[in-house]
Amino acid sequence: MTIDAKFPAPKLPQIRRSADSDFFNRWARLFPSLFIIGFFMLAPILVVGTYSFLEADPYGGVRPNYSSAAYAQLVFEENLDGSWGFNPSYVKILWRSILIAGISTALCLIVGFPVAYYMARQPVDKRNFLVLLITIPFWTNLLIRTYCWILILRDTGLVNNSLISAGILDAPFKMLYTNGAILLGLVYTFVPFMILPIYASVERLDLRLLEAGHDLYATRWQVMREIILPLAKPGIIAGSILVFIPCIGAFIAPDLLGGSKKLMIGSLIQLQFSSSRNWPFGAAVTLVLLAFVLIVLMIYAMKSSGKKDLEAA
């Protein structure tokens, strides 16, 4: 053990235990949480990784034979004559998911930035109250909040009913089961993740910088572009990642508001593990999603020092 080899450094009075018992105490206390997460989360991810290289059992689950069919199925399909041809349908679903997650993130930024900025400029009491108002929906049930939009958007929902009874529309305008409905639901669900980090970075903004900008004859919008936005950048990046990651794997909004024809990765994975019963293929899609998320997080970790803003949120 290296600990024995080390010369004991002079210790502060409050530290009475030896280094060995310190080591033991620490890890004994960390063990339960690390064990639960390691054994029931990390190990399962390894299991899914293994499953993606096995054969599918048509009754659900896998057969213990190596096969790369799951990954091949992502891009190719077997024709009737046994040859393999390019099959764009799953690539399209992946692309759709990235696109919808990207647009949702952009919309969250547009919707959220003015709100975050306005909140940060309020007196402290009001500010804390507004933050609480933003966080309450976050802690309420995602499924129920999405369900609320079905009440509003469906053909016999509130909007269509009132427009028809007001005589503006003759027949219901189709809003549910569209891409727009998915976007609306995703933005509604995840916009707090955008607002809070931006709020955290704008709150610390030094007003004197804005004053200096105005003294140098900058207009309001120049001040916004040249001073506020660059200083809020860490918050904007952190917020974008916090929105993008759950959006790309989202299941509830695409499922309830998009209907069965507008698949995204999340619903595709869920289908493979339930009614389609192709676990290896589902596992392969899961790994693709996980790899994508990890790449985004790594780029973020390497490129920015915005870690503090992520934690402050």
Partner: protein, 268 residues
């Protein structure tokens, strides 16, 4: 802080952008009106979920007398209580090490592991846990769900407790140790009462995330073990009914009460 008006009779205030206030008001309308609509129509006496007829509590009565809902609610509560209990205990132990244990090798790795459930997309955790249970042949009914919920409850319990410990001076604990209290008595009589608000806050948050969790429960739950969100989902798939509105409103209220408790505990 006002500067002299420039080319304009209106007072120019630094850092104020026209329209942002209105935008914020509209945003809060967007955030809360759908929820209010749901609550409003849960009191609708008619058979339609979105056409108002009269005030009535009849759908609450129907929901409360529905045996399936009772069973699902019971499952949800048991799972949330047990997972929260385990998560809080292990989170307190972990937070004591990461906030009071000084610097040591592997600290950031331990922290990263505890935060992991917050980073991995839920659908990934869901199918991974399902595959894992299937591979090991673990089939413990509600036990499977308790395990899965405990995993993602841990970071929610850990963060407020850690925040409390970090914001707290360790001098009282050191005074107790100087006065010959052993470590256990120091924890029990000094640290524990002081971090109580953090524990309450962490416990309520993990209780909420457990009781609200849908996608992990849906994938991991064994046939016959239904939680409230799974039951609501199956109802919504069949069609929109006033009964769904009533159950959903009850769940919303539970969450809001718990957030309020957590907020008040955190403020102390």
């Amino acid at each position: 802080m006002d500067t002299p008006a420039k080319n304009s009779a209106r007072r120019f205030r630094i850092g104020v952008f026209p329209g942002f206030g209105v935008w914020t008001v509209l945003f809060f309308v967007y955030l809360y009106v759908p929820i209010l609509i749901l609550v409003f129509f849960s009191f609708n006496g008619g058979k339609s979920a979105t056409v108002w007829s009269e005030f009535s509590l009849r759908w609450y009565q129907t929901a409360f007398n529905n045996a399936d809902i009772q069973r699902a609610a019971y499952n949800s509560l048991v799972i949330a209580f047990v997972s929260t209990g385990i998560a809080v205990v292990v989170a307190v132990l972990a937070a004591l090490v990461t906030s009071r244990g000084g610097e040591f090798r592997g600290k950031s790795l331990a922290y990263g592991t505890i935060m992991l459930p917050l980073v991995v997309p839920e659908i990934v955790t869901a199918v991974a846990t399902l595959s894992f249970f299937a591979a090991l042949g673990i089939s413990w009914g509600a036990g499977n769900l308790i395990i899965a919920h405990t995993v993602f409850c841990i970071p929610f319990a850990y963060l407020p407790i850690r925040a409390r410990l970090e914001g707290m001076d360790s001098s009282l604990e050191q005074a107790a140790l100087d006065l010959y209290a052993n470590e256990w008595r120091t924890f029990w009589f000094v640290t524990f009462p002081l971090i109580m608000p953090g524990i309450i806050s962490g416990a309520t948050l993990s209780f909420i995330v457990s009781i609200d969790n849908f996608i992990i429960s849906l994938m991991v739950a064994e046939p016959g073990v239904t939680t409230l969100p799974i039951y609501i989902y199956s109802l919504v798939r069949l069609g929109v009914t006033p009964e769904v509105n009533a159950v959903s409103t009850v769940m919303l209220m539970i969450s809001i009460v718990f957030v309020a408790i957590s907020y008040i505990a955190g403020k102390r």
